[in-house]
Structure formats: C-alpha cells, structure tokens
Symmetry: C2
Subunit: 232 residues, 2 copies
C-alpha cells in the first residue's frame, strides 16, 4: 500500500482518532486493488468478508429482486462501505460495482471487528459513521416516498450545485443513465424531467448544467435540510 493511501485512510473520521497500534494492525492485513470500470465488487447475500475503502474512482451500490434492479447509492472517495454488515458479521444487503477506474482498500472484516472490540475510540467513531449512514438512507427513503421524480431531480441539482461552489454552471458529474437509476427513475424519464425543468430555470446540455433562475428552481424543488442537507 502506498503511504499516501495510508495517510488518506488515517484521516478519515472513522480512523482518525484511534490508537496507532490498532490502526497498524488494520493496515497490516489490508490490501489495495485497482479495478477497471464495471467490475463486480460485492454481491448481496454474500458474507461481508471485507470492509471496502474507496480511495478514488466511484462505485455503485445496487440491489436486485425478482429480476428487477435498482441503484441504492453511489459511493465517492474517500468513503467506506459497507460498515454495518462488517460490524454485524451479517450478509451484504446490496451489491456493488465500480463505475469508473477505482482504487479500493480491502480491510478483512475479522480484523475490523477485532479492533472494534478493543479500541474504544474506534468504537465511537463507528457509531458516528453508522448514525450518519442511517440518517442518509432515511432521507433517501423520505425523498422517494414524498417526492415525484421531477422534484427529486430538481433537488439533486440544487444540492449538487451547492456542493460544487454554488456557481450557476457546473458539470453533471455522473452518466445520465446512472443518475436516473440513482434518482429512482428510467433514463427516458430523466430525459423528460430535464426538459420539464427548462420551464423552471434549468438548462442542461450534455453534462453541462446551468441554473438560469435559482429562485424559480427552488420554488419547484422546495428543498429542506431534513431531506437534502447531507450534514444535517
């Protein structure tokens, strides 16, 4: 493992405060891999052998049932997945695949559980991480149950804008069909939603987004921190 990777992991909220010996112990069993795009990383139902740490690239977490598939979330660096399964020694509830070329650190779940049992600082960091994950999915579920697809898209754009400097133009950072899946709709429907937003202060050309009338978009989107603020 590169020293820079090691440093990056060490600075994650999850590992930041823990004892050095314990961190070393985790890193000793770890190994790093570079994956090309579209590689399967995990399959739902399998035992959670490794905690994954995404160093760069991006990965999609999705679920299947009865021949259907849906995207649950998109992981971006630097973040871990899927901590809950690792800690509980329970099967993964989602499958995962790389979207881009990705660099991923694999920490054996047994090591993570062993350190968790001993290191009290780490245990509390796990709590914070899990609480955030929980609130994240909960917001996702609210988003899905309370909003139409156009409303979800509108709020996604506002949030993405805020996270990228707040300027009127920015890049859509995701293939459109992935974005569609992530927002819980089909690519066709996303196309139509994008067109629908032209009347509400948004222009999208390719991956280039321009918010031409922020107030108008907000009137449609009605964003609320209780769904849309990732830090809330």
């Amino acid at each position: 493992m590169r020293e820079t990777d090691r440093q990056e992991i060490r600075h994650l909220p999850l590992f930041r405060g823990m004892d050095s010996n314990n961190f070393d112990r985790l890193m000793r069993g770890a190994y790093v891999q570079n994956f090309p795009p579209q590689v399967d990383l995990l399959r739902e139902g399998d035992p959670s052998d490794f905690l994954h740490v995404l160093i760069n690239g991006s990965a999609e977490l999705f679920a299947n049932w009865n021949g259907r598939e849906t995207t649950m979330s998109v992981a971006r660096p630097v973040s871990t997945f899927i901590l809950a399964a690792t800690i509980q020694d329970a099967p993964w509830l989602m499958s995962g695949r790389t979207l881009e070329k990705s660099r991923i650190v694999l920490l054996p779940s047994e090591d993570v559980r062993a350190v968790f049992a001993e290191d009290n600082v780490f245990a509390r960091a796990v709590v914070s991480e899990l609480a955030q994950c929980y609130r994240g999915v909960l917001k996702d579920a609210k988003n899905l149950k309370l909003r139409t697809s156009v409303e979800r898209l509108a709020n996604y754009l506002l949030r993405w804008q805020a996270e990228h400097g707040g300027g009127p133009t920015f890049q859509l950072g995701l293939e459109k069909r992935r974005l569609a899946a992530r927002l819980g709709m089909t690519p066709e429907n996303l196309s139509r939603s994008i067109r629908a937003l032209q009347d509400h202060g948004v222009q999208i050309n390719g991956t280039q987004v321009e918010i031409t009338d922020h107030a108008k978009l907000e009137t449609l989107a009605v964003p609320t921190p209780l769904i849309d603020d990732p830090r809330c």
Copy 2:
C-alpha cells in the same frame, strides 16, 4: 417509575450489558408518561431532547414535505426511538405520534450522550442497535423501490404470519389505513390489493386474516431474507 418498567428496560439489548451505575444514572433523569392515542410525541426538525423507550402500546413515525405525509415505520414494544438523533445531537428526521394508549419512558438525550461517552459496553450496544436500524431502513427502501404495492402487502402478510406463530389465521394487528400508509399506499389501494390477493391464497375479513394457500401466496410474494427477514 415502576420497578417492572425498569427491569424491562434493563433487559433491552441496548441497556443489558452496561454498568449498573451508569444505568442508574440514566434512570435517575428518566421519567415515564402514559399517553392516550393520537398524541404527538416528536416533530421532525426539532432538537432531539429525549430518547424515547416504548414500553407498551404503539407509535407511528412519519414524515411530511410540502403538504404530503407518509408513514416511515411503526414502533412496537419494547423498543427505542430515535437513537441516531440522540447520539448525534441532531434534529429528528421524523415526527412521531402514539397510535394506541402508550407507556413511554423519556431519557434526556444529554444523559444518554454522557453515559455513551463513558461506558464502553453501552457504546458497543449502540453500534449494534444503529447497525440494525440502518439495515432496517435499507430493507424498507429496497422493498419500496423493487416491489409493487400488492407484492409489498403479500410479503407483509407472510412476515406477520411468521412472527405470530405461523398458523393459517391471525389478526391484522393494525388499522387498515395505517397499514396502507406503512406499506406506502392509499387506503383505497390497499382495499384493492386485498381483493387482488384473494386469487393468491389470502382471505381477509375485517382484521381477520386467513392464509388459505401458503405456497400460492409465496409464489406471488417471492420473499427474500435480504428484504423480509428482520433478524438478517
């Protein structure tokens, strides 16, 4: 507080292993209240002043946005809500109200956080609880995104049956309009779904459910532990 309540709380997974002094400290600041049905307990967005422990009765956790409302879950005894908000000192993401006459213990969030900071056993119990909550919402989200409303109802019945002895007849344990909201549909749609299931081995009269052809129902429902098993 009654001694029986105290015992019941003490035996919850969350409080079972913790130090007696710390448990006493939590209980010292606690107070118990008996609520009639339909009483508002929490409002989303408010600071999470108390960790709620439901001793008996039942409570609905729901969310609003832009004039719409949806039920996120139904809490049954003995369980706590909402731990993540308490630990993070973050606002509630859901509102709550009693459904039936309910007995609820209120633990000041500050006390919970203070004990969490000191008691390592408790901290790890919090991890288990949060991991389960996380996986629970995740399963809910999968249920919503991957299944139609008839399929959700079919699986709900199978699960409810399994949790109540597995016999062919049982009670529906919830007002139909609440059940509808919980399953993410309207009361009208639930009525039609119930009728649709008549051709698939289910008879429902009032609150009385009879599974007349379990195999046939399973053929429609296609249950999977990765969505339907609460212990998975």
